[in-house]
Amino acid sequence: MDSVRSSRDAGRVKLPKAIKILVAGGFGAGKTTLVGAVSEIEPLRTEETLSDRGIGVDDLSGVETKQTTTVAMDFGRITIGDDYRLYLFGTPGQERFWFLWDELALGALGAVVLADTRRLADCFPSLDYFERRETPFIVAVNCFDGARRYELDEVRLGLTLHEDIPIVLCDARQRESGKEVLITLVEHAMRMRLGTTSRPSGAEPPTGQTAAR
């Protein structure tokens, strides 16, 4: 235990500002690995016990007794000076827990969608979710050993990803690689939110690209 804080400081304690970034993707895409690679602490696991808060998503209408489900999330932390603390949350993958995503996504700086080229479709739900919610996100293609390497353009096509959305290759096990992914995301979120390259929402992409096939 560190310094003793006197109660006179009550209410005057300066706490850093907490920021969250979500790491999404299909099961086994490397979410926790990425979190662990960049986190200053061993990834921790927290559990949300969901009860009637989930009504409307899990259909509990008419169920009198409280139904509960536990969803686990892994997360890590990066301290940025005295003023900011970044928390990285691996999102629970199951579709039926998306109401929990809403809580997580609220106030998030942005999201990294991890794609595994062997199971590209696994990350579709994440892409749909963040697109719909207008949460800034990028796609990071995790290069698993033994997986066939694709050109990023091929993956972009496979995901029908808008050209404004960055897509990068990464090795989720490597700290440097994870760092680059996060930097790409923060730069993208900044562009989106501060509007240096933003266009009115709902506008079509500038070029008349036709969908492949």
């Binding site: 109660s7 304690v13 921790l44 927290t46 016990t49 009198e64 940025i80 949350f89 106030g107």
Partner: protein
């Protein structure tokens, strides 16, 4: 319907009780904090020292107060105390009412339009 209805004891012990009962015993049945939103990244810091024999403080609350001598997020508190985040939120609202902790809720999405925030985070990440 009421929990006070007579139930055979066997339903409340061991595996039959499930892992869910205990967290709500700690919160005396409450599932929502009385005040504060307590987002997973809300930061909490202890502002009043406690002795280990502080009357009326559950061991779990005592553990939280000790843990938060250094600021912790709700998610971290939940992970370190092995309690579901929902339970921790209720306990934190009690501790807030009792003046043991101070907290900082994260700001809303509108706060995400502060360029300084992005610059600071980018500089911090590059320096890692």
């Amino acid at each position: 319907m009421s929990i006070f209805d007579e139930q055979p004891e066997s339903q409340w012990v061991g595996d039959e009780a499930g892992p869910i009962v205990r967290p709500y015993v700690l919160t005396r049945g409450r599932t929502e904090p009385s005040r504060g939103r307590f987002d997973l990244i809300t930061l909490v810091v202890t502002i009043r020292q406690v002795s280990s024999r502080e009357p009326g403080l559950d061991p779990e609350c005592l553990a939280i107060v000790r843990l938060c001598l250094q600021a912790q997020s709700v998610a971290e508190i939940a992970a370190h105390t092995n309690l579901p985040a929902g339970t921790v939120r209720v306990l934190l609202s009690d501790l807030l009412d009792q003046g043991f902790i101070a907290m900082q809720e994260p700001h809303s999405e509108t706060d995400m339009h502060d360029e300084r925030l992005y610059r600071a985070v980018l500089d911090g990440l590059r320096a890692l």
